[in-house]
Amino acid sequence: MTRNGEMTSDVAVRKNQYYDSVFLMSVASRMLKEPGVADAAALMGTEGNQQMLVEMGFDPVRVGEATAHDLVVALRGKGEAVRTILADLDSWLERKEGSLSTPSASSWDEARRRQPGSNIAVVSVPGRHAAREAHAALDAGMNVFLFSDHVSVEDELALKKKASQAGLIVMGPDCGTAIVAGMGIGFANAIRRGPVGVVASSGTGLQEFTTLIHRAGSGISHALGTGGRDLSDAIGGLSTQAALRALEADRSTQAIAVLSKPPGARTLRALMAALADCRKPVVVCLLGLTEAELPHGGRFKVARTVDEAASLALQLTGGRLPVPPRSSAEVTEVLSREVALMNEGQKYIRGLFAGGTLCYESQQILRDQALTVHSNAPLPDLLRLSDARASVEHTLVDMGADEFTEGRPHPMIDASQRSARIRAEGRDPQVAVLLLDVILGYGAADDPAGDLVEAIRDAKGEAERRGGHLAVLASVCGTDSDPQGLEKQEAALRDVGVLLFRSNAQATLAARELVSRIDERRG
C-alpha cells in the first residue's frame, strides 16, 4: 500500500476468478460512488489492462502479480474508504438479484443440448477468443450476433464467407444492436413490431432510427446490425447483402432502410446494384458523404440524416413522423431568448455524445451548414482534435471512442466521464451551447438522464455566475416502453432547463441556428 497525504492506493488480485467486462465496470462504477473513493478499476489482468493500471499510477509490482485469468481491483482514495471496500470485496462482486433466473449452462455443448433448435449465438467474449466461438456457432448452423471488438479483418472475412455459404449471417464484429422479430439483442430499445426493416452498420444509428419509427406509431419488422467494417472494400458488404436479401424475402417487411457510414468505393457500387434490384422500396442513408458524393438515379430514396431516413421509411409504409411539439417559429423564439441571456464572449458549440453515429451525424449536419467543427472521431474531411480531452472552438466529442472507454465504462452505461466533461465545458466562458444525446434501452444505465442533471445544473450555474447563460440542447433516444421510460427521462432533463428535440438531427440544427443568432447579434 502506498500513501500520499491522506490518499491511499491499493491493489487486490483474485486468482482464477473470471467476470465479464460489463459486470466489472458496473462494480467499478459502484465503487466510484462511495464517499472517499477517487479512482476505481476492476479488470481481468490481461497485459493491456495491467499496462493501463500502471499508467493510472497503481503499483506495477502488485499489478504484475496478475495473469489474464485473474481479477484485479485497484482503488485510490481515502485510506478508510479503500480498506473498507477491499475488506468486503466478495459482497461487491455478488451479482444483483434477478440474474439467477436466466437459464445457464456450463458449456457450449450443454447449452445446445438444453435448447435444441438454437438459431443465434450472442457472442461478447474478449476479442481474441471471439472468432473461435463465432466459428463454432456457424459450424453448428447458428447465426451470430458478434458484439466483441478487436476481431481482425481476416477473421471477420473468414467468418462472413462461411456464413454466406451456409445461408447464415454474422452481425458484427463490434455490433451493438439488433432487433429480431421484436426481440432486442445487445443495446436495443423496446420497439413495437411493424412494417419497416432496417440494416445498419452502426448501433446508435440503428437505435435512433428504430425509436423514431416507434414514436411515430409505426414499428420495426427486424433491425439487423452488420458491424462497422462490413461495407469496407475488405469485407465487401457480405452481411449487408445477406440482410437485404432476407428482409426482401421476409413477409412482415414492407420497406427497407440501409444506414451506414461511407462504404468503400467498390462495395458502394455493388450495394447500389443490389438496391436497384430490390423488389421492396428502399431508403438509403450514408452518413458522412457530401451532397455531391451521394448516389443518385437509383430507384431507392436517399436520406441525409437518420431522422430523414425514418421519415421516408414511414412515408413508404403509410405513416409519418409526428409534428414536432414546437413550430420552427417557436423554436426560433426560444433560441433567441436563450441568446439574449448570453455574454458577449459566448459563441461555441460543444457536443458531448454517448452515441458515436450521432456524433458523426451532427458533424455532417454542421459541416453542411458551413460550420468548422473539431472532433476526436472526425468525418474524413474534418479536423481531428489533438487531445480528445480538450475542446477547440466548435467541438463534437464521441465519448464512446477508445480513448475514453479503454478499461472504463461506456458513457451509455456510466455518466461519470461525461458529467466531468459537461462541468469542464461549463467553466469555459466561450461556450454557448452544449449538445447532448441521452440513450435509453436494454443495456443502458438505469437512469441516464438523472445521471447527467447534476452536472448540467452545475455547468449552467457556472455560466450564470459569470453573468451569462449556457444553452443545453438534447435529444433522448428511447421509447415509452424502454425500461427507463422516455417521459420520465425527458422530464428530468426539462426540469434543469434542457431544451429537448425529437432527434439528434433536430437538436443539432437548433444548435446551428443558435450560433447564427449569436453571429447576428454580434453583427
Binding site: 433466473s101 437459464p103 450472442v122 467474449v125 445461408g167 422479430a181
Partner: protein, 57 residues
C-alpha cells in the same frame, strides 16, 4: 428452401449467449428463449494448438 437467416427472422431468436450475462438477462426479460453459457477464457495455448484441439474434440 428457407435459409438459416430467413428462419431466424420468421421464428425469432432462440439464443445461446456467450460473454456478457446482461445480454442473456435482457433477452430473457423480453420473453425470448435463451441459455447463458458461463464462459471462461480457455487455457493459454497458441492458436495452432487450439485449432488442432478444435478438430479433435
Amino acid at each position: 428452401m428457407e435459409t438459416g437467416l430467413e428462419s431466424l427472422l420468421r421464428y425469432g431468436p432462440v439464443a445461446i449467449n456467450l460473454g456478457l450475462r446482461g445480454f442473456a438477462e435482457s433477452l430473457f426479460r423480453q420473453g425470448a428463449q435463451v441459455v447463458h453459457v458461463d464462459w471462461t477464457p480457455p487455457a493459454d495455448i497458441d492458436d495452432e494448438t487450439a485449432a488442432i484441439l478444435d478438430k479433435l474434440l
